[in-house]
């Protein structure tokens, strides 16, 4: 038996992404490098043979997925697994969490300008976000972060796959960092919400904000 056959068998039998490390557990003689090499081999083979499926890189792992051209045929069947699409508010909330995790509810609501408790509950129920810690300060509010399921849902390999702020077409030429500006002077007579928002951001634990210019905090 070839290494690539073993790897193929493991990928075939799994219905969730598997990391190279996990695949290597199939046999004592396997290591990650061999697995990755085998995957490259298989990919080339599938492409040559014009197979209807590919090995996709998702959520820091590998998964066999059909090519998107076959969607119209597969969609006719009720029993093919199909994730349901997220609502606008859910996507908006996820976007904020993805870029700013760990982040608390108050801060999310300040960015969105609307209450978000219901959306957060839904996202948590769908395991797209999870509680990753608690902030210091009053009531020690919970902080949210994205999950593995989040990457799977959007087909991302890692958080690095998220669009980088600088590639966005929005008028952000004069770089407004997504991360809250720490030294920002609080508004002279701020409304309750403004103060609450600032409080939350100040209370947030010091995350790796070194790369603040990118507004990005990959949790690799």
């Amino acid at each position: 038996m070839n290494v690539h056959q073993i790897v193929e068998a493991v990928l075939f039998a799994s219905d969730a992404p598997l990391s190279a490390d996990e695949i290597a557990r199939a046999d004592e003689s396997l290591d990650e490098d061999q697995v990755e090499q085998a995957i490259r081999f298989l990919r080339a083979e599938y492409d040559d043979a014009e197979r209807s499926f590919q090995i996709a890189e998702i959520a820091e792992g590998y998964q066999i997925l059909t090519r998107s051209e076959f969607a119209p045929y597969l969609e006719r069947f009720d029993n093919v697994p199909r994730p349901s699409r997220l609502s606008g508010p859910a996507l908006e909330t996820l976007a904020i969490i993805a870029y700013r995790q760990p982040i608390g509810r108050i801060e999310i609501e300040y960015v969105r300008g609307v209450g978000s408790a219901g959306v957060l509950k839904t996202l948590q129920d769908r395991e797209l976000i999870e509680v990753v810690g608690r902030a210091e300060g009053l009531g020690r509010p919970v902080l949210y972060g994205t999950t593995q399921r989040f990457l799977e849902h959007f087909g991302f390999k890692s958080l690095e796959d998220l669009p980088r702020p600088e590639e966005l077409p929005v008028v952000l030429r004069e770089r407004i960092p997504l991360g809250p500006e720490e030294p920002e002077a609080p508004p002279a007579e701020g409304t309750a919400a403004v103060e609450a928002g600032d409080e939350a951001s100040r209370d947030a634990p010091p995350v790796e904000r070194a790369d603040d210019d990118e507004g990005f905090s990959p949790t690799a």
């Binding site: 029993n79 209450g115 991302f156």
Partner: protein
């Protein structure tokens, strides 16, 4: 996103008509007002925008208090900034533009919105690629296996108690309806020839089968539909009266809906009896 510039209905310049329900929140609305009018976001004419914002949220339904509160909060912020802009700024305090924080929030929100659009595209893309597998049928609750604790004779006795279902003799005979609605229509119309009203029960006298009642009632409804009469009942299960309709166009009350609840004395009833 329907935004139409009203034409001459409102004298104020730059007034915009906005459908508030289509916005996800105050930031969304504000951003829309700004972008729609090609306003430089770094130099927002705060007075104009505040007026437009207040105009737009005037129509928020009072029952939607949660979102109304969110919009009102933004309105308060705008008014505060407007006031701050009016105050003469002393040169010494190097305070930032009162609009600074708002601009930062708007840009941030705009960016978040763009990112969520990208996420949506990625989601759609991923949804077109299928993993192996299938949706398992809904799991059924397993029947708890209970040990059989019965002696043979008990089982035997229980078996004897079970009555075998007798093969039911069923005769499906299709028989013509013995009572026709047409007959009942004639009966009702006949009995109303002399008088203006008749008791429903009096029409059933002499007929024993239930079907007669059913058909008489249906005939009554049918005639009501044809606006030849109306039905009246003072209370549920009280006597049902059938009234001849004098003038078919005059009174709309004589529809089926009136069968159940009707005030006892109506002016035209007195007139009919007089």
């Amino acid at each position: 996103m329907d935004l139409t510039v009203s034409e001459g209905t409102v004298p104020r310049e730059g007034f915009l008509l906005v459908e508030i329900e289509k916005f996800q929140g105050p930031l969304d609305l504000l951003l829309h007002l700004i972008r729609r009018q090609d306003i430089d976001i770094f130099d927002i004419p705060i007075s104009r925008i505040t007026d437009q914002f207040l105009q737009a949220i005037r129509r928020i339904q009072a029952h939607d208090l949660d979102s109304a509160g969110e919009f009102l909060e933004m309105a308060a912020t705008l008014v505060r900034i407007k006031a701050q802009m009016l105050l003469p700024r002393t040169a010494e305090d190097e305070e930032e533009d009162p609009r600074g924080e708002l601009v930062r929030r708007l840009l941030e929100y705009e960016q978040i919105r763009e990112i969520s659009r990208r996420l949506s595209a990625a989601e759609a893309d991923r949804a077109r690629r299928f993993p192996k597998g299938f949706n398992p049928p809904r799991p059924r609750r397993p029947v708890a296996e209970t040990p059989l604790q019965a002696a043979w004779d008990e089982v035997f006795e229980a078996a004897l108690r079970v009555e075998m279902p007798l093969p039911r003799e069923r005769q499906h005979r299709v028989s013509p309806r013995s009572v026709s609605m047409e007959d009942k229509i004639v009966l009702i119309l006949d009995s109303l020839r002399e008088t203006t009203r008749v008791e429903f029960s009096s029409l059933l006298r002499g007929f024993r089968e239930k079907m007669h009642g059913v058909m008489t009632f249906l005939a009554g409804l049918e005639l009501t539909r044809r606006r030849l009469l109306f039905l009246r009942q003072t209370a549920p299960f009280a006597e049902l009266w059938i009234y001849r309709r004098e003038d078919s166009g005059e009174d709309d009350a004589g529809t089926e809906a009136d069968v159940e609840e009707q005030p006892v004395n109506r002016p035209d009833e007195g007139a009919a009896e007089a």
